[in-house]
């Protein structure tokens, strides 16, 4: 699994680094912490490279802090991200014969800190595309309307344009419940596993939503929901099931977003992609006090 953590120098990004560390401790994901500097420097000059920026800029320093914070979550000898010792070791080169060789072992998993220059939305999406990440994680502050600096609505724009899953993490409230709107015929195994990780991480209650056009679920959706129910039950989770008619979806989401983390499966050809347009996704991210996970 590859996780891209997009950060700026605000406190919510530090909290996001902690969320990702907890997630990475369970999944042993390869993690990239990405900061984006605008091309135009504070002095108004167009920067051609990072060197044109004074390294006193808060973002590079913040990235180092986040990296430290991320690593501090792991015990030193059990951390998959630290470079392990270089040195001479006795290695059995053939049966009964040992030789002292110089051994260099790399970390088992990657932890990178990167800075890109340009428009934050474009650069985050470009990094996600080029590195083929599975999940983008971004923090934002509910009280500030989920804005990033003065640039406005960056998490919302990333969520709507990304082709992979995106978690917008808010840390104002403890997550007691994770509500998943899953389009059951198409939802991927990886998405189910990601929900599993989040439920375990937060020790939260899991609620699975079945969307229906009429009063009853279609038989094939029921079969898939039964499979999902058994999948989670076998893992020691006991999800609740709730049926929501599409006509009530807006009311349901705005009500439930007050109570816990909302996870929406919006992959290609998903029902939600059709009935829950980008403007509503943006409003949900902006208005929710809890984290929002868009699964793809």
């Amino acid at each position: 699994m590859k996780i891209l953590v997009a950060v700026d120098q605000n406190p919510y990004s530090a909290k996001t680094a902690k969320v990702v560390a907890e997630l990475a401790a369970n999944t042993w994901a390869n993690v990239t912490i990405l900061g984006v500097l605008p091309r135009r420097s504070p002095a108004g000059k167009l920067a051609a490279s990072a060197e044109d920026w004074n390294m006193e800029h808060p973002l590079p320093r913040a990235l180092l802090e986040y990296q430290k914070k991320f690593l501090s979550h792991f015990k030193k000898d059990a951390c998959p991200y630290t470079q392990r010792n270089f040195g001479y070791q006795l290695i059995e080169v053939r049966k009964g014969v040992w030789e002292e060789l110089y051994v260099a072992k790399s970390a088992r998993k990657d932890l990178k800190a990167r800075i890109r220059l340009g428009n934050p939305v474009n650069e985050i999406l470009a990094e996600a595309r080029q590195e083929e990440v599975d999940l983008i994680v971004m923090g934002c502050d509910h009280s500030e309307g989920c804005q990033w600096e003065e640039l406005g609505g960056i998490p919302q724009k990333v969520v709507n344009a990304a082709t992979c899953s995106v978690l917008v993490a808010k840390e104002e409230k403890e997550v007691n419940k994770i509500v998943c709107c899953l389009d059951h015929d198409l939802v991927s195994q990886q998405s189910l596993e990601m929900i599993n990780q989040l439920v375990t991480l937060h020790q939260a209650k899991l609620e699975i939503i079945g969307l229906t056009e009429g009063r009853e679920l279609k038989a094939e959706v029921e079969r898939k929901m039964d499979t999902i129910l058994r999948y989670y039950t076998a893992r020691g989770l006991e999800p609740w099931i709730e049926i929501v008619e599409l006509a009530s979806l807006d009311a349901f989401i705005s009500q439930e977003a007050q109570w816990g983390l909302m996870a929406l499966w919006m992959g290609k050809r998903s029902m939600l992609e059709k009935v829950f347009p980008k403007a509503k996704v943006s409003r949900l991210i902006k208005g929710s006090e809890y984290s929002v996970l868009i699964l793809r």
Binding site: E207, G210, R215, L217, E222, R223, M225, D226, L229, T233, E238, W240, I241, E242, I243, V244, E245, S248, A251, F252
Partner: protein, 278 residues
């Protein structure tokens, strides 16, 4: 030993109810008889009588039979008291009622998925109550571990219906439960929960008396609530307070004339509900 009749079909709600009932049976030793009812479309009349009718009914049951058997066979290894399904053709309500009368069951169990729009649940439960089911009804909405129950009283609750239904049905379950008095308010007022001793003076005396009476009846049967309290609010608000219970137990009248607040409350909790008729 409690004898329960459980309605099964090939829907998700039925599968959840069956698993929940098996879990309950393992705790209580309950005997579980399953029944499948194939409802012929109303406009289709049986062709003839006697052998012709029976052959026609058999044909209707053939396709469902294998699936129902598979459903029961899946649970049977972990649920020894689960019996093979009785396969019947006819009107669902009438056939359930007939079987409940003939088999002298103590409990009827049915699955119904928890829905944001609770009207299906309300219509279904109202039909079962007005149909004159002779025993308590357990409506299972979700498959969760039976950890803690809420036993709900209202001013109008007949304790002689509620309390025995509760302890007879759950005998042997070693279940933790709270005894809660519900006072419904009009929309616009906030709901809140008061612990024992914090009841308002205006109606506190009456509520205390009812709680004490219920406690006494429970104690005589060897049951003791973990906590007692009062829930005040509109049905939706009180339902929010009951989210952490895995079973809610209450009484409803046979005919719920107009809007019944307790029926609305029961439709809005995600857990299973055990309803006795008064």
């Amino acid at each position: 030993m409690i004898r329960a009749l459980i309605l099964v079909d090939n829907r998700l709600a039925s599968g959840i109810a069956l698993r929940y009932a098996c879990r309950l049976a393992n705790q209580t030793g309950m005997d579980l008889q399953t029944i499948y009812i194939e409802e012929a479309e109303r406009e289709v009349r049986p062709p003839g009588t006697g052998w012709v009718k029976r052959t026609w009914e058999k044909g209707l049951l053939v396709s469902a039979g294998a699936e129902i058997s598979r459903l029961i066979d899946e649970e049977k290894p972990t649920c020894p008291t689960l019996r093979k399904a009785k396969m019947v053709v006819g009107d669902r309500q009438m056939e359930i009622l007939r079987e409940l009368d003939e088999g002298s069951y103590d409990l009827f169990i049915e699955g119904t998925l928890y829905a944001f729009n609770p009207s299906n649940f309300q219509v279904n439960l109202e039909a079962r109550l007005s149909g004159g089911f002779p025993c308590p009804i357990l409506m299972v909405k979700n498959f969760v571990e039976l950890k803690k129950a809420a036993l709900l009283l209202e001013d109008t609750t007949d304790l002689w219906s509620l309390v025995p239904s509760f302890f007879k049905t759950l005998e042997g379950a070693h279940l933790e439960f709270d005894l809660l008095h519900v006072k419904f308010t009009k929309p616009g007022r906030l709901s809140f929960r008061e612990d024992e001793g914090g009841v308002e003076a205006a109606d506190g005396g009456e509520i205390d008396e009812r709680i004490a009476s219920a406690r006494k009846m429970l104690a005589e049967a060897g049951w003791s609530p973990q906590g007692t309290g009062v829930l005040r609010g509109v049905p939706v608000g009180v339902a929010d307070d009951l989210q952490d219970y895995s079973l809610v137990v209450a009484c409803l009248p046979r005919q719920t004339a107009g809007k019944n607040a307790m029926l609305e409350l029961l439709s809005r909790v995600p857990s299973a509900v055990l309803v006795c008729r008064q």
